[in-house]
Amino acid sequence: MRTRALLLDRELTLRTGPLELPEPQPGEVLIRVEWAGVCGSDLHVLRTGDWVSYWPATLGHEVTGTVEHCPGGELATGTLVVADSRVPCESCAGCAAGPNRCERLAWVGEAHPGGFAGHLLLPVGRVVPCPVSLEPAVAVLAEPLAVARHAISRGPGHPERVVILGYGPIGALVHLALTAGRESPPEVTVIEPVGSRRELAAALGAETSARDDIAGRPAAVRPQLVVDAAGYPGSLADAVARTATGGTVLAVALGHEQARLLPAEIAERELTITGSIGFAGELPDAVAALARDPDRYRPVVTEAVPLEDAPGRLRELLAAPSPGKVLIRP
């Protein structure tokens, strides 16, 4: 079948055009895309072409849409679903532990056409149905929320003080996931240079600062958890410097610069540095959390762009970050 899509050429030029998708087979589902979210990793691909295994590529791995055709009948036509963004090889030792531990883990949009398109074809086991009450523009946050929830699951259980470096959508969703449903939520401080992102953080209840003096604070009031959701050169070292002795640094951002760390500091201060990639079983939980309290998450989405306007807007985003999540509507 033919659908309209955002196409990234090998020369990294963006345009909209027709995309041919194979007819869905038993075990597959054809989804009519409602909304697709722009992830920081999409912007990285637009800059570099990294990770893409086919051209022209159609990115977009944060996707919600309705079932248009499911030959095997596993899902009823019209069912709202969110896409599982992971494309594991299903044959390596890592896959035995879970898809996000795959040694050759790829992602929807980079391994095969993604959601910046009118339609998306996926294995039927790679979608999560949503309650009918959940609006699609909120449901599309399920994938990044699952990433945030998985990251938190890798850190200490109930920290009293948390610092989040970087308040892009993942930083914001980590914040919301840390405080959701908690009678005594942690005190969250956000370090973020972009003013509009700090305003969002403040609205959602965080203390905010463009620059911080946390490294100079007495050890007793340093955060037990520092989340690196920024990924700028040196962000991991900054996170280490700000963490309380015995605390945890959670590396969520995909920084691409070498980090300069002093091993003795990590040993002497008994720091834990933990990585987190994608999600394990958190996608259905994220859908349920969004359905329970959509108002809590709605402010994270700050912009919605028609597919036809997406090439221009995405080019702008490469130069100037948005305050929050940008959605594309086919």
Binding site: W35, S133, L134, E135, A137, V138, E199, L200, A202, A203, L204, G205, P294, D295, R296, R298, P299, V301, T302, E303, A304, V305, P306, L327, R329
Partner: protein, 372 residues
């Protein structure tokens, strides 16, 4: 159908001039598609939600409104003695009408008015002096003239259903000309969404004009429409009189806790207002680009000359509903509440598509075809 009892027939006769209130219809999809009631797309602030949840355990006691009045007074920059809380600002309309209007008295409204102002006045037995809007804006000269024979002037600014404001300098001049024996009710339900230059400095106006009542609500920028909280800012003597007429515990304890929580919600409200202004600007630009007439709005809605019957079905197909202007005294127009970015993008896409198909500005025959 059986004929009504004499009791019902008498009640119907008395209410013959009072139209039934028709609330904005929800969209066919999720709640955020309801762009027909000027609600907030983001709900109340986290601090307000937490305060309401904590207040559930206090429901066994009668409410104490002193702290809440202090919060609202501080926000408005006036003394707490100038604050009167009501169960939604609509209760304040009925309260003012019951105290200051009666058969033989006159209330001045713009035409079309905010409907509750007209309803409350008529229920009190007063007659209405209707002053037509000029280009969607209050005609203050004509209202001044009408006020000379009136007991009350209802003045929403930004106005509902047009979203237009009275400039602060014009308001000050108007208040100086209205007789001191005529009450002026300045309804500022949508004040927060107006540009700062369109927001009058209320403290000095209240001090200079003891006949001024400023009416506000927590239903809009505070996003507490379901909680029903409004308030008046007025001279302490007026507050005292109105308090005597008001039911003693008009605002419940959960609502009072929400007000107290609102003292810690400034960043949330600023975010909400900024997002509404941004989306309002995008919508007005789109309407201008599509050559659709609209009233430049300072509120959280935009009223445009669009055929509700034409745009209703394609909007419904996108999960959206807007308010037909006929409900609000503006047939041939629709009032579009400003919603969340995805809903507004979907709405703009529908308008663009209708424009592309020629349906927005068609010859009459084509319009009829499009409606089918």
């Amino acid at each position: 159908m059986t004929s009504p009892t004499p009791l019902v027939a008498a009640a119907r006769a008395r209410l013959a001039d009072i139209p039934a209130y028709r609330p904005g219809r929800p969209g066919p999809g999720p709640a955020s598609g309801k762009l027909s009631s000027n609600e907030s797309p983001f709900g109340p602030a986290p601090a307000v939600r937490a305060a309401m949840a904590a207040a559930a355990s206090t429901a066994g006691h009668y409410p104490d409104e002193h702290r809440a009045r202090a919060v609202l007074a501080a926000e408005a920059g006036v003394e707490p003695s100038r604050v009167l809380l009501t169960n939604g600002s609509d209760e304040l309309c009925y309260l003012l009408a019951s105290v200051f209007l009666a058969p033989g008295r006159v209330a001045v409204v713009s035409d079309p008015p905010y409907q509750i102002d007209a309803t409350a006045s008529l229920l009190a037995g007063a007659s209405l002096s209707r002053v037509p809007l000029r280009d969607g804006v209050h005609d203050l000269d004509a209202m001044t003239a009408a006020a000379r024979q009136a007991a009350v002037v209802w003045l929403p600014s930004p106005h509902n259903p047009t979203g237009t404001t009275v400039r602060p300098a014009d308001l000050a001049a108007f208040l100086a000309r209205v007789p001191a024996g005529c009450l002026v009710v300045l309804d500022e339900a949508y004040r927060a969404f107006a540009d700062p230059a369109c927001q009058p400095d209320i403290g000095p106006l209240l001090a200079a004009h003891p006949n001024l009542v400023v009416q506000r609500t927590l239903s809009k920028d505070w996003a507490l429409a379901g909680l029903r909280v409004g308030y008046a800012l007025a001279a302490p003597e007026l507050v005292e009189v109105l308090t005597r007429a008001r039911p003693p515990f008009s605002v419940n304890s959960v609502a009072l806790a929400a007000i107290e929580g609102g003292a810690r919600a400034g960043a949330w409200q600023a975010m909400t207002v900024a997002r509404v202004r941004e989306q309002r600007s995008l919508l007005e630009n789109e309407l201008g680009h599509l050559d659709v007439e609209y009233y430049p709005s300072q509120a959280n809605f935009v009223t445009a000359r669009l055929d509700a019957g034409l745009i209703g079905p394609p909007l419904a197909a996108s999960g959206l509903a807007v308010r037909p202007g006929a409900d609000l005294g503006l047939p041939g127009w629709v009032r579009i509440s400003i919603g969340w970015a995805p809903q507004m993008a979907a709405l703009r896409a529908v308008l663009r598509e209708l424009s592309r198909s020629g349906a927005l500005h068609p010859e009459p025959a084509i319009r009829e075809q499009a409606r089918r």
